[in-house]
Amino acid sequence: MNKIQLRVRELKKTFNNRLVFNKLSFELNSGDRIVITGKNGSGKSTLIKILAGVLTETSGNLEYFIDDKKIDRENYYQFVGLVSPYLVLYDEFTAFENLNLFSKIRGLKISEKEINDTLNRVGLFERRNDLVRTFSSGMKQRMKYASAILHNPLVLLLDEPTSNLDLDGKNFVDELVFNFREDGIVVVATNESQDFKYGYKIINLDEYKNSNKNV
């Protein structure tokens, strides 16, 4: 079991002088689950992307520690899994090919059986040899989950986790989040009140336009 810690200190993000959020600070440890909420445009997706390491903060500090060792930003991809509406998979490849490529590009030794097990877990095993471009929006959302959990990440970032999902899909998300690894961290960004159950704490980004509030 690894011990992971996420420290966010005085995080600020602006886009072309438009303030998204300011002085955001919180700390998460292994086993924590947190919900980020706020109005449209409050910066939920922006914060998720910053936590994933694919967007740079304007100022402030974001640090991950695994077993008390600080992780460099270029290595976040090894332990972060992200599901987001902005995520687009390679639709010229099949479901299996996408996951196989992702595992190889990540440098992981993931067997064909493990890929098939992941596809089975998200309910896409029957469509594993179909091109992703033939998938419905709900199936693409399931593929995003498959790509996020394939490498057994320590940090799971979910942006609008239940969008486009049917009842089975939502049940899958419940099972994934509530049974996520004990040493992991889950961050859920959502406007849906029924998704607030995923977190022990809730951060409302509307409160971080000009304030200093620790969670």
Partner: protein, 219 residues
Amino acid sequence: MKVFYIFYKDFSSELRMRFALNALIMFVIVAVSTILFSIGSERAPQNVYAGMFWVIVFFSAMSGLSRAFVSEEERGTNLILSLIASPISIFAGKFFFNLVLIFFINSIIAILYLTLFQDFIIQNWNSFLLAFILGNIGIAGSSTIIAAIISKANVKGTLYPVLAFPVLLPLILMLIEITKSAMEGNPISDVNAEFMVLLSYDVVMITASVLVFDIIWRD
């Protein structure tokens, strides 16, 4: 191996989608045909053939090498790529893809040139081939980093050649000089200075690209 699989992803995708390949092949055929019909039975000086060869190479690079990054940005797949690989791996994989693509296309250009233009005669093949290899490396290196830069811009199409021209111009000028020398049959030692510039260009461009790519890639 991570770099190889990023290259493999682009290579497989290109074979299936043929975004860059079809455009490049059509450009080469049209460009060479146009020059062939323009010259007709006239005889042009050797330096003109050398210049036209590398002009076609330059514009074929402009037609196709930006796809490596622009397609990721336009399709929205840059986010998943950021999530599964480090910036240095992404740059290296894309660079090798562009290198293979430019070698393939420029080999076709060279074969067509040698076949269709009787006055395009290479007397010193060592000189020409070394310039061909170093030139392609330089074009791939510069084009890859410029493609990464313009992929973030709103107006990508016109910006690519505008940014690439001043960066690639020194390289193209050296290549034209070496090609002229190779056509005249001069020894390699006559163009030592040009080869040193070529080699330095390749080293500097690739090193600078690796150093700045992380900043360019992240939003």
